[in-house]
Symmetry: C2
Subunit: 227 residues, 2 copies
């Protein structure tokens, strides 16, 4: 499914070059369940953004289902992304002036679904994350964990086959966190590919494989189960 070869990502800050990824190789098959762990600033989100077609590498090769992603233009990237990827951002990235419901409906607008059907699908996704009584609130009228759950619902509403979640339970109490992990487990059992960044071992343990990132490199890549 996903084949990254010698992926490098550098940023320029004034005269200094920041090396976020220093040559990453990773092969991910369809229906894998992977946790990515590592220190703050080690490159996890950068790697996930490249896998999710939100960012392009400085150099290296990215093959996604046989297509060469690293050579795609912005329009093609956006089209691949909207069709295949569901992304839960570390900082949620909700539209501040739209309600929770409208935020969750947004990906469906690009899929050409009727307004009436969009509303039903979005309400379903919102119910799954336990926010039915908050769907008309805007992000500023929601708690941190409620915003996180809106971001999760939005990522899943288009039924993507590749789900990327960056610290999806970082703002959730353990009970709500378990409910969210149950959603990811179900999606995995339904055949989808799940990649989670987490710092919590109890979350990482849901995965079959744990990848440790250190200073822009893959330090360890461990198969923990064979599901």
């Amino acid at each position: 499914l996903i084949n990254l070869k010698d992926i490098v990502k550098t940023y320029q800050i004034g005269t200094v070059e920041v090396q976020a990824l220093r040559g990453v190789d990773i092969l991910i098959h369809s229906n894998e369940y992977i946790s990515i762990m590592g220190p703050s600033g080690s490159g996890k989100s950068t790697l996930m953004n490249i896998i999710g077609c939100l960012d392009t590498p400085t150099s290296g090769i990215y093959e996604l289902e046989g297509e060469l992603v690293h050579t795609m233009d912005d329009n093609k990237l956006a089209e691949v992304r909207n069709r295949k990827v569901g992304f839960v951002f570390q900082t949620f990235n909700l539209l501040p002036r739209a309600t929770a419901l409208h935020n969750v409906e947004l990906p469906l607008i690009y899929s050409g679904i009727s307004a009436a059907k969009r509303k039903v699908i979005a309400e379903d996704a919102i119910e799954k994350v336990g926010l039915t009584d908050r769907m008309h609130h805007r992000p500023s009228e929601l708690s941190g964990g409620q915003r996180q759950r809106v971001a999760i619902a939005r990522a899943l509403v288009n039924n993507p086959s590749l789900i990327l979640a960056d610290e999806p339970t970082g703002n959730l109490d353990s009970t709500t966190g378990k409910e969210i992990m149950a959603i990811f487990d179900d999606l995995h059992n339904a055949g989808n590919t799940i990649i989670l960044i987490t710092h919590e071992k109890i979350v990482a343990d849901h995965a079959d494989r744990i990848v440790h990132i250190l200073d822009g490199h893959i330090a360890e890549d461990i198969q923990v189960k064979n599901n």
Copy 2:
């Protein structure tokens, strides 16, 4: 130090009234170390915002060091806040167009400290959270955990005696999280009052007292140690 009596906070969303806090009583003495836990949406951040003078209750009494906070006007509230409180926000709230260094310097500007001295103090705080080599980055050029650490450094730079931190380790790997908790432990040992919202037991266990919030009420208030 802090005396809250029958604190109620309600919001109006269209015709619906949301009861975020439904009558909270809590007494906190100087130099206490408290963890606040509870489900997503239960009222933890709302309670912390009221304690930190960032928000006023709908009804109820708030006495802070003998002064009646709930009757203060915005200017007086801001003055009390800047002098006494260090606040780490659940969503960081950094200035997007200022560097990490400038974000950390900001509270010092109101204290009338010279520009040269401000820079030294802010650089010290940034070093304490391990971000010296990132101090000239803007928030969009930082990882999630790096932004969180900038928010922590900013909260502590004015040497506040009341430190309120809302999920301060939510985006940090366990090693970096331990370093941050060591900072809070030191501040507590130095005589300050620490109140943390967290969903992680390993973080909550640093405190002497754990307060459980459920649906806008205090469900449990337990002294776990006597330090």
